[in-house]
Amino acid sequence: MPGRRAAFPRPLLLAKDYAVLILLVVVTVYLSFASSAFFTSDNLLNILNQNAPLAIIAAAGTFVIVSGNFDLSTASVFAVASVSAAWLASETGDVALALAAAPVIGLALGAVNGLVVTALRIHSFLATLASSLVYSALAVLITGGALITVTAEGFTELGRGEFLGVFIPVWVLAGVVALLWFLLSGTVFGRHVFATGGNAEAAELSGVRVNRVKILVFTLSGLAAGVAAAIAVSRIASGQPQAGAGMELQAIAAIILGGTSIHGGVGAVWRSVAGVFLIALIGNGFDILDFNPQLKDLVTGVIILAAVALAAVGRTRR
């Protein structure tokens, strides 16, 4: 629909465009005052480190949503990738190979998603829902449902190691986010992702290879799930099919909370990352402060609504 809008004051515009940042700041400030333990580099790095896998998945998921699609299979791609890595490591003992396998497998499964979506021309919501079932079954079959423990020397380096006093996952996160941010906002591919999500027919008519774009965004999403899996599996030194359950929705929630439009065509990588950490902060706050954990969901829900309401203030009634 044509976004006919009247002019309105700057601050509201800001509220509309940066609601998630504003709330991130509010929560941070509150927690800093509420607990001395919160605003310490130790704790903040911890938060980054712990949520690196989810943030990576959400960052790549942004491409999927912006292109007007859904990827509900990230959690099961994550599961397959992590059990495979664990299995390889425990079978071959070749740590590098095992950890490298995770992203490759993720990439492959993602590509399959893309092919299914484009070949069958069905909505990705259903396609990836189905593939997620298939993939999680795969994960179970690889392990027989049992747990695969990795004892191989150095397997935990990626997940637990540090570099310049900062956990390696944090470095990976930084790198991935920077890369994807640029990819979406600064490249032709990124532009075509926006166009595909904004109006696929128009994009096609303009010579954008819409199907290719779709396949690529799903591949990217799968790749990210694989990278996340590599980090997580190396961190816990064991693989099991349930790994990552629920991540797919957490990621999508974070992406949309960030302000990326579920209709496609509008969004940014930084938004999704901000969304992930806004939710993470709430959880962290509940652990640090002596709140009744039964209220955590309540608070999270309310804060999400607050963010959205804030953004809504910007938009005026048509």
Binding site: G3, A6, V188, G190, F194, G198, N199, G207, V208, R318
Partner: protein, 520 residues
């Protein structure tokens, strides 16, 4: 308008090798045989017009050339070489671009981003900075002869400006063959003239322009050759020089038809109280200060340049946009806080200017669309009687000569012009006492246009008040009793069409107006 650029006689000489050749091309849509063995040659450096009734197959033909649709039969050759699989990307590589009849733009991207979509200049996939607002964009503007703000989101443009973006996009591809499917359907006379100059210029650069239009004068004006279509088949291809308006019409309809404006209904006695009265109306969407009144049985026009805010005035009266100032009085009672459902209930209907964006639910059957605003008419306790509904809808379809006359078909399956007819039928179903018509004949063929004009007049004779908006000023001039001149969301003068001319109106409209470019 006098002939713009003399096309050398015999441009149609087939000794020049065709850029695009179609042989026996056919296309099916479900049951409909949209194209039936069409042969067509497109020569370099020619303007090739396609004319035909609504639903004749013009757009389908254009889309097959541009690779949007796949042909079900027949052959397509480019530069003499037969092509197999054909899609917009391949067509683009061969220098074929298309301006679709139903605008296809990415609303969330800016003007420049849309113009260069798929043609982004980059270093190894990395976008060049300042992209869009630079020489390249200026060049396209220069070529096009008009300018748009490169950084404005397309969603914020009026539909006419959006059409300009489409034109610029095809230019940015510097295509050898440009299919323009009714490119002027929402341009004002002045802009149409500009576009025609542009087309002639392109032709003289040796490019081919396929020009689909229902404005037969314009066709005879700019085209070198004309292909006439009827029911998906090619009737004939001839030099424009050898065709006349009546000959084209006869070719299209298979029967002669005199196209003049129907006789205006008798002027309404000024003492009759107005059915609609608007005083100092203002909205946040472009209406600044508008006052006008319409009496029962009266046809009042709005004359303005694109972007003058005519549609916004219509939307405000109808209640689609929030009113920030002024009053609307309907049938003697204040129409306070108008909203569409209140307007409809009060007997005030509107035909919006953008049939896809604002008018129709494309994936639903035509029947449901026509009945949408008045489903309750056929319902008892909220339960719809399909029988009564179908009867009423079919009657209207009949009256509007809807083609195909199958009201159960999905709306997306109807040709642009026929969708427009359905849109009008939708407004008339409830027998409104007052109708706002915003571009009512956009994209309909001569026959249907004549029918719609008669319909409008008939309505007026029945005592219906009508507010008529049309970028085709002749239409307003030919039908309206009175007309208000609109500029920048203001009504600044009132004219009686019978006593003035289009040129004088245009001069008045351009008045102090710069941004519309050179005034005539």
């Amino acid at each position: 308008m006098e002939r713009l650029m003399a096309a050398p006689a015999g441009t149609g000489a087939p000794n020049r090798r065709a850029v695009v050749e179609l042989r026996g091309v056919s296309k099916w849509f479900g049951g409909t045989h949209a194209l039936d063995g069409v042969d067509l040659d497109l020569l370099p450096g020619e303007v090739h017009a396609l004319v035909g009734e609504n639903g004749a197959g013009k757009s389908t033909l254009g889309k097959i050339i541009a690779g949007v649709y796949q042909r079900d039969g027949g052959a397509l050759a480019v530069d003499g070489a037969e092509v197999g699989r054909w899609d917009p990307v391949r067509a683009g590589r061969h220098g074929i671009a298309m301006i679709a009849q139903e605008l296809a733009l990415v609303p969330e991207l800016t003007v420049a981003q849309n113009v260069f979509l798929g043609r982004e200049r980059s270093l190894a996939g990395v976008l060049r900075r300042g992209h869009g607002n630079d020489a390249a964009f200026d060049a396209v503007c220069a070529l096009a002869g008009f300018r748009l703000p490169p950084r404005r989101r397309v969603a914020e443009l009026g539909i006419a400006d959006q059409q300009k973006v489409e034109i610029m996009r095809s230019l940015a591809r510097d295509a050898r063959v440009i299919v323009m499917d009714e490119p002027t359907s929402s341009l004002t006379a002045h802009e149409t003239e500009q576009l025609h100059r542009l087309i002639a210029a392109l032709r003289d650069q040796g490019r081919t322009v396929v020009y689909v239009s229902h404005f037969l004068d314009a066709v005879l004006d700019v085209a070198d050759r004309v292909s006439v279509m009827r029911d998906g088949a090619l009737v004939r291809t001839a030099n424009a020089a050898d065709e006349t308006k009546p000959s084209l019409i006869e070719g299209m309809l298979g029967r002669p038809l005199a196209v003049t404006f129907p006789e205006r209904p008798p002027p309404v006695d000024p003492s009759v109280p107005p059915i609609l009265e608007v005083a100092h109306l203002a909205t946040a969407d472009g209406v600044v200060d508008v006052s006008l009144s319409v009496r029962p049985g009266e046809i009042v026009g709005l004359l303005g340049l694109v972007g003058s805010g005519r549609s916004e005035i219509a939307r405000a009266i109808y209640g689609a946009d929030r009113i920030t100032g002024g009053t609307v009085t309907f049938d003697g009672t204040p129409h306070a806080r108008p909203r569409p459902h209140r307007s409809i209930a009060a007997g005030l209907a509107m035909v919006p200017e953008d049939r896809h964006g604002q008018g129709l639910v494309l994936e639903r059957p035509i029947r449901e669309n026509i009945a949408l605003a008045h489903a309750t008419l056929f319902a008892t306790a909220g339960v719809i009687s399909r029988r009564r509904e179908r009867a009423a809808v079919n009657a209207l379809a009949e009256r509007l000569a809807l083609r195909p006359a199958r009201t159960e078909l999905t709306t997306s399956g109807f040709s642009g012009g026929n969708q427009q007819k359905a849109l009008i039928g939708k407004a008339l179903l409830g027998d409104p006492a007052f109708v706002i018509l915003d571009e009512p004949t956009r994209g309909v063929d001569v026959g249907a246009k004549y029918a719609i004009h008669e319909l409008v007049v008939a309505l007026a004779r029945q005592g219906v008040g009508i507010l008529l908006i049309s970028s085709e000023h002749e239409e307003v001039m030919g039908l309206a009793h009175r007309a208000h001149l609109v500029r920048d969301g203001r009504t600044f003068a009132e004219v009686v069409p019978e006593r003035t001319t289009v040129d004088r109106i245009l001069t008045a409209l351009f008045g102090a107006d710069q941004h519309e470019g050179a005034a005539p």
